[in-house]
């Protein structure tokens, strides 16, 4: 994917009243829309693609040798983190606290037993309990900038990375031009720049829902927009749909989560965290969002 992001100089094409450039990063189609001039729009696109590639290379758990790989293969030894990674760990630690443990960057190992491929292979209780031993942020020792995980534990920035990259790219775009600019990495979006002309029109689709009803059009002029959904990732056994969202405290999927939650907030990162947390609230998603005082759209 990073190879695609680094491909030969990206080009922008003219749409009605803006420039549009595409690339692929983080396994998602990515897009920059800019009402600036062509040269600036191209620069915004280049920098956004470079930033997406950088964040992906540094924080993808699928890459060997990056900081995430070093943390996950430390086998109980302390790891010294750079400033950016330490900031992300601080952020994750705060979110763990704010969400009463629902958001946990150490929950990724549960995927060793939960494989959400649409099949009916639901793991045994014992298997889940065994893996849960290696899950739980409180089991980690975080004394910034040194992180020590218990042997067998892993971290995963999957729930933060893309939104973080969107906000980073949006800040870069804003530093190049005051004109309106929209950054869209696979549905995680930020709009920056002057509030002039019409708003950006953003279409949101609940993946897997496949009907026109599960579709919203949002007009975004300023701020971030993120969508969490249970996508095509689920298990189905005896008529029970097991969402891919796992409760890190029980090791079992969240019950009664909406199919999709979209949140508008000041930044894409905030919107992404709120939509993820809302999904983790299951049946209480709407109530949770209501309390946060943000604009949100749930599809059930």
């Amino acid at each position: 994917m990073a190879a695609a992001a680094r491909q030969t100089s990206p080009s922008v094409t003219r749409r009605q009243d803006h420039w549009c450039g595409d690339f692929v990063a983080m396994a998602s189609p990515c897009q920059i829309l800019s009402k600036s001039d062509r040269a600036t729009a191209r620069k915004q696109l280049e920098q956004a693609a470079a930033e997406a590639g950088r964040v992906e290379a540094k924080y993808s758990r699928y890459r060997r040798g990056n900081i995430v790989d070093r943390i996950n293969s430390a086998n109980g030894s302390p790891v010294l983190l750079d400033e950016e990674t330490a900031n992300l760990i601080d952020f994750a630690a705060t979110l763990h606290r704010l969400s009463d443990g629902r958001f946990d960057i150490t929950s990724g190992v549960l995927r060793e037993v939960w494989i959400f491929d649409g099949s009916d292979r639901v793991p045994e209780e014992g298997q889940v309990r065994a893996v849960l031993e290696r899950v739980g942020w409180p089991k980690a020792v975080w004394e910034s900038p040194v992180l020590t995980l218990a042997p067998g534990m892993q971290i995963d920035f999957g729930g933060i990375g893309k939104e973080y990259a969107v906000d980073r790219a949006a800040a870069l775009a804003a530093s190049l031009s005051d004109a309106p600019c929209l950054v869209n990495f696979g549905g995680d979006i930020a709009a920056v720049g002057a509030v002039s002309g019409g708003p950006w029109r953003v279409g949101i689709e609940a993946l897997g829902a496949g009907s026109g009803e599960a579709f919203k059009r949002i007009r975004l002029q300023q701020g971030g927009l993120a969508t969490s959904g249970d996508a095509r990732r689920f298990l189905l056994k005896n008529g029970v749909r097991y969402s891919h969202l796992l409760n890190p405290q029980t090791g079992w999927p969240v019950v009664d989560a909406p199919r999709s939650v979209t949140v508008a907030a000041h930044t894409c990162t905030q919107a992404g965290m709120l939509s993820t947390l809302a999904m983790l609230m299951g049946a209480d998603a709407e109530e949770f969002l209501e309390r946060q005082g943000v604009r949100s759209w749930c599809i059930r």
Partner: protein
């Protein structure tokens, strides 16, 4: 575990995000769900001077946006026309009497006055509906229906369009087809071509209901030339067949030397015209070709829109239209748009100010000023603004002036250019309001 344990985390999250991104987000979040329905409404007043046509029309367009760029549009228009239009008869130095189109009574025009048909009063209702959707990745299709009805006229139409994007959507080619069938049912029956205007209740020169069929074909290309310029080029062909006359237009039959209208005497005891008038006669087929070119130039927020249209038809009318608009933003929420339009057309081959007594009757003849040679200019200004809740308002004021010319060889005896084809001034005032629901 219940959500109640997790209260408002928004503030804590904002602080954490702030230190992660190294910025403080203080700007308001501007996001709202796009309304399912969008409405565009407009109230238009068009008023000609000298007691001629006044038109008040109300237009409503509703659009429903569905997933995948599928759009349903429904339009409703109500037009209320009052006033009078030149009937085609030549002003005389004496009182003229005309039988009303209904054939039920007469009306009179004073000496020296331009004969206007004052029975011109109608309300028109029009309905349109169309469906647009993408067809595959590069194509889009539109299908629509139209219907309108007024006192003596009914229109039914269907239209189809197909467009295809090329070259990363920088080029769009479109093909359109429109079919229409119009039915005219004038009160008292459609006049026979070149039939005499007869006495009240004498319908011998009247026919019945007439039809007109029109087929329009359009071929267009839109091209994004560079980052600032968008160019459109259209060719259209329009083919009309059937009854193409205006049933209310007449010609005076005049003396070859004096130009005075030839006298007639109504039947004993009947009311009727005291001069001879014949109803107009147009060919029953008309083919128009038109070429249209438009360029939109974007200059950092300002938009210059220039267009030119050339139209030629087999009636001998050639027309040229040059139009320009300049959209100038005033701050973030409003704009001002000056507008200028020039129009010129040559007269139809069969256009004539009058019929000359004693000369062989031509097959086709019309004194309808709209088929004559004229120049027109429209100048106006539009001001638009958007409210914080996303509603769009605009007001447009325009002035229209038309100067006609009758070929000098058609001016006979006492005929005078300016009284046969008087200048026309009109004012156009338009209010529009767009909102979503």
């Amino acid at each position: 575990m219940s959500a109640k344990n997790t209260g408002n985390i928004a503030q804590g999250l904002a602080a954490a995000t702030c230190s992660l991104l190294g910025t403080a987000a203080t700007l308001p979040v501007l996001a709202q769900e796009q309304p399912e329905w969008e409405f565009d409404t407009a109230l238009l007043y068009y008023g000609e001077d000298g007691g001629r046509v006044q038109d008040l029309s109300l237009n409503l367009l509703a659009r429903r946006l569905f997933a995948d760029d599928r759009i349903l549009s429904v339009g409703l228009a109500v037009d209320s026309l009052t006033g009078a239009t030149p009937s085609g008869a030549v002003p005389q130095d004496e009182l003229q009497t005309f039988t009303r189109p209904s054939g039920e009574s007469t009306y009179q025009v004073a000496a020296g006055e331009m004969p206007l048909d004052d029975t011109f009063l109608d309300t028109r209702y029009a309905l349109t509906a169309s469906w647009r959707q993408p067809l595959g990745r590069d194509y889009a299709g539109t299908a629509g229906l139209s219907f309108s009805t007024e006192y003596d006229y009914t229109h039914v139409g269907a239209n189809f369009a197909l467009s295809r994007d090329f070259n990363k959507r920088n080029t769009t080619v479109s093909l359109g087809l429109a079919l229409a069938r119009d039915e005219l049912d004038p009160e008292g029956g459609a006049p026979l071509p070149l039939g005499f205007m007869s006495d009240v209740r004498d319908l011998s020169e009247r026919g019945g209901t007439e039809n007109k069929d029109v087929v329009d074909l359009l071929l267009g290309v839109t091209q994004a030339v560079n980052e600032n310029l968008l160019v459109q080029l259209n060719y259209s062909l329009s083919d009309g067949t059937g009854y193409l006359n205006d049933p209310y237009k007449i010609l005076s039959v005049v003396d070859p030397l004096s130009g005075d209208a030839i006298l007639r005497t109504p039947a004993p005891g009947a009311a009727g015209p005291l001069h001879q008038y014949r109803f107009e006669s147009r060919p029953d087929k008309r083919t128009k070709h038109s070429l249209f070119g438009q360029g939109k130039y974007f200059m950092g927020g300002k938009v210059l829109d220039m267009s030119y249209r050339y139209m030629t038809d087999d009636w001998g009318i050639d027309s040229h239209t040059l139009e320009t608009k300049l959209n100038l933003p005033l701050g973030d929420t409003s704009y001002i748009e000056p507008h200028l339009r020039f129009y010129t057309q040559s007269e139809a081959d069969f256009y004539r100010a009058s019929l000359v007594d004693g000369e062989p009757l031509p097959q086709f003849a019309s004194a309808d000023y709209r088929l004559g040679s004229f120049d027109a200019i429209t100048a106006g200004l539009k001001y638009g603004w958007r409210t914080s809740s996303g509603k769009d308002f605009a007001v447009r004021l325009e002035y229209y002036r038309q100067d006609g010319e009758i070929p000098t060889h058609q001016l006979i005896g006492s005929h005078d250019q300016s009284s046969l084809y008087p200048d026309l001034d009109a004012v156009i005032l338009n209010f529009s309001f767009g909102f979503g629901m």
